[in-house]
């Protein structure tokens, strides 16, 4: 990982910049500025996905034979940095980082042929059906059932926290196909090639931030083809673990986090401290910014070492370490954002936040997104394995190593 050491990468950086400076439409840029979640505003982001696909850059991390770019680690890092620097909306991760790589590893030739092109091109959006009301951190307790019936499964039950299900045309999910034995057994991994099967009902859930990002999905005798199964029946837990590996081994978080800090620094130069003068010149702000900068820097160092194949990359706790570090850093940054926005973070401005609404925010664009981002980011320590569960794993691993 020579990104800070190899000047020869600058030509590549210029090529990337040239495209990113010109290709996005106004709506795409607006969506980027109004991104207050891991999930950027849907329509404009899918449009950007399709533009990147046309340029051949939709899936830098994919192998070339599946449509990847063939870029080096350093090039991918630079692309991500420049993408974030321009506040462009990050592509939705479910297809590119989760389902796609999983199918490359475990999908049948037919599944690959059927699904990879739509993921790559931005035609399809896959929602994730994992959690249930009684199976959150304890995912293995899931009970939504699939009963084999001829060439089909018949699904009954409920999923929740299915992100953007109301916008999705595809769904991947875990279902229970056997209730005997350990609860991790008897789970099956299914792909649904439609989200409008008879008996499926999708209900959006309004979040703390006022936005309908999550959904509940209800299944009432929903008949789906068994051809959507990935891996063997009752072996879905290990399929999910394989997927998790792709999800976590994926892109670096540093460029996104660095960009948030840059936005904070810029906003602080325009903000007035409560005791007068620019906030950026306030010693108390500087100290707290210094601490954030140090934390961001250390996180970058960890990620760059891991990407470089340093021994840290082999630490089995690294996915958990990365999850805890990145989520809690995002939360710290979100708190700092609301602090810099000050009272301008307090107006409720849901309309101004909508892409294309044409409603002007009361304050500046930074203050508009600060509070929704803070609220949305409270979830970062909850989803994808709560940070309590991650700390259990980190500690267990540490004590096992030592024992």
């Amino acid at each position: 990982m020579n990104v800070d050491f190899d000047p020869s990468l600058e030509a590549f950086r210029e090529e990337v910049c040239a495209f990113l400076d010109t290709a996005p439409t106004d709506a795409i840029r607006e969506a980027g500025r109004k991104t207050t979640s891991v999930f950027a505003p849907f329509e404009a982001t899918m449009e950007w996905h399709r533009l990147l696909y046309a340029r051949g850059w939709a899936a830098p991390a994919w192998p070339v034979e599946y449509g990847g770019t063939g870029w080096s680690l350093e090039q991918r890092y630079i692309f991500s940095e420049e993408h974030w620097k321009r506040d462009l909306p990050p592509l939705l991760p479910n297809g590119l980082i989760m389902v796609g790589p999983l199918l490359m590893e475990l999908g049948t030739p037919e599944q690959k042929r059927q699904h990879l092109p739509g993921i790559l091109s931005g035609k399809d959006y896959w929602t994730q059906g994992y959690s249930e009301p009684s199976a959150g951190s304890d995912l293995a307790a899931l009970s939504c059932s699939a009963l084999a019936d001829g060439d089909d499964y018949i699904i009954n039950g409920q999923k929740t926290w299915t992100t953007l299900a109301h916008k999705a045309n595809k769904m991947f999910m875990l279902v229970r196909t056997n209730r005997d034995g350990k609860k991790q057994q008897g789970i099956t991994f299914l792909l649904l090639d439609r989200t409008d099967y008879p008996g499926m009902h999708i209900r959006p859930i309004i979040g703390l931030d006022g936005v309908a990002e999550q959904c509940e999905v209800f299944f009432d005798n929903v008949r789906v083809p068994q051809g959507g199964r990935v891996g063997a029946e009752n072996e879905g837990w290990s399929v999910a673990k394989a997927l998790l590996k792709h999800e976590r081994g994926g892109a670096a978080h540093s460029p996104a986090i660095r960009r948030k800090l840059d936005a904070i620094r810029a906003a602080a130069r325009d903000a007035t401290a409560s005791f007068g003068g620019p906030l950026s010149e306030d010693p108390v702000f500087q100290r707290d910014l210094g601490e954030l900068e140090a934390e961001v820097a250390s996180f970058e160092h960890v990620e760059k070492l891991v990407l470089s194949g340093h021994a840290l990359a082999d630490d089995p706790a690294m996915p958990s370490l990365n999850k805890v570090m990145s989520s809690e850093l995002s939360q710290l940054l979100s708190i700092m954002m609301t602090r810099v926005a000050g009272i301008d973070a307090l107006p409720l401005q849901l309309e101004a936040l909508e892409v294309g609404s044409g409603v002007q925010p009361l304050g500046d664009p930074f203050s508009l997104v600060a509070m929704p981002y803070y609220l949305n980011t409270r979830a970062a320590s909850i989803y994808a394995g709560s940070n309590e569960v991650q700390r259990d794993l980190i500690s267990r691993n540490l004590q096992t190593l030592r024992a």
């Binding site: 309004i206 703390l208 107006p347």
Partner: protein, 368 residues
């Protein structure tokens, strides 16, 4: 002296609790805020004497003390009440009662006490209500009498008020308070809601004529008293919200199961609950003690800053803990948890946030 509420305060709180349980339950409140239901709660508050309570007896009020205001405001916080008792009565009404009773002032106070008129206090100018010497709103002598010019932000109840109480500096930089009818020429009001649903407004004052009888010059002490009332009442609301979050989250942790047992039996959750309890005990003790100091005229601005800073910081700790322990459903608009978080964050931003008050405390005590 044991810092408990008096028998009268307990009785009033019991009545108010019953009213709010019936007429301001969470689901009903959501419909009210979405414009899908009406509430006659304001007139009930008038009938119960709560609206008149904070005003001095000489003005037709019940001469409510600081701890009376705390007793009521704490329940408002528990029930997420956003009725305009604070801006209209506790702030504008009580401050007007310190004016010389002349011109329109006595009638305004009387109408505020009956609930017929609403007042709002326009003070914030954008960076969090710092020292009053930094106000940029100007009260100046125009050709036909005094006028006021400036802009105010995030004015609680500013869009519904009939009379606006405005802080400003005179041409000699003296702190003044001036009251004007909200429909006076040159007043431009931009209504919106704050994060927690409170109706607020930005108010632009384009050289608005002010009745000389409705000006208090040399208003430093009055403004400080006003801000102390605001901070005390908001702190009480925050503590009320914290109490609900504590109780709700402890209940939830005791019943929600993951990995085959209640999540509250996991030490990470248990200890976070313990920290929330510690935070709550500190915040509530400071609220009650400082209210007692205020009742006896001994609360200093340091005391008030301690209270405002503690509810800001400890309230955030409790609310963030509550969301985390609730997990996914704590992230939804459908549960009260997030509404309390937003209530607490909004309160923190009003009349000086945690950071401002901590620095103000530090500045004072480092020099003492």
């Amino acid at each position: 002296m044991n810092f408990e509420f008096s028998d009268e305060q307990v009785m009033l709180r019991d009545s108010l609790s019953r009213l709010l349980d019936q007429r301001y339950a969470f689901e009903l409140r959501r419909r009210i805020m979405a414009g899908q239901a009406e509430t006659g709660i304001w007139s009930e508050l008038v009938d119960m004497g709560i609206v008149a309570m904070p005003l001095p007896e000489a003005c037709g009020g019940l001469g409510g003390s600081a701890s009376d205001i705390v007793a009521i405001s704490e329940l408002f916080g528990r029930h997420l009440v956003i009725e305009p008792l604070l801006p209209s009565v506790i702030l504008t009404g009580r401050a007007l009662a310190r004016f010389d009773p002349a011109g329109p002032v006595p009638q305004w106070i009387a109408d505020i006490g009956t609930g017929a008129l609403r007042g709002a206090f326009a003070h914030e100018e954008g960076s969090g209500t710092g020292a009053s010497s930094t106000l940029s709103t100007k009260l100046y002598e125009g050709e036909a009498g005094p006028r006021i010019r400036g802009s105010k932000k995030l004015v609680l109840g500013g869009g519904e008020a009939g009379v606006l109480l405005i802080s400003a500096l005179s041409e000699t930089k003296a702190v003044c308070l001036a009251a004007v009818p909200a429909d006076a020429e040159g007043i431009e009001v931009r209504r919106y809601r704050a994060l927690d649903g409170r109706p607020v407004a930005d108010i632009l004052l384009h050289d608005v004529a002010v009745d000389r009888a409705a000006i208090m010059a040399g208003a430093d002490a009055a403004l400080e008293a006003l801000l102390a009332d605001a901070r005390l009442a908001l702190a009480a609301e925050a503590v009320g919200a914290m109490a609900v979050l504590m109780a709700t989250t402890a209940d939830f942790a005791g019943t929600r199961e993951q990995f085959g047992r209640p999540i509250g039996s996991f030490q990470a959750i248990a200890h976070r609950l313990a920290d929330m309890k510690i935070a709550y005990v500190k915040a509530r003790a400071s609220l009650l003690y400082i209210a007692a100091l205020a009742d006896s005229g001994r609360a200093t601005s340091r005391d008030i800053s301690v209270l405002k800073a503690q509810v800001g910081r400890l309230g955030r700790e409790i609310a963030q803990g509550a969301v985390q322990i609730h997990g996914g459903i704590g992230m939804t608009d459908e549960l009260p948890v997030g509404h309390y978080l937003k209530h607490i964050l909004t309160i923190d931003g009003l009349f000086g946030n945690t950071d401002y008050h901590l620095r103000e405390i530090g500045r004072v005590v480092a020099a003492a």
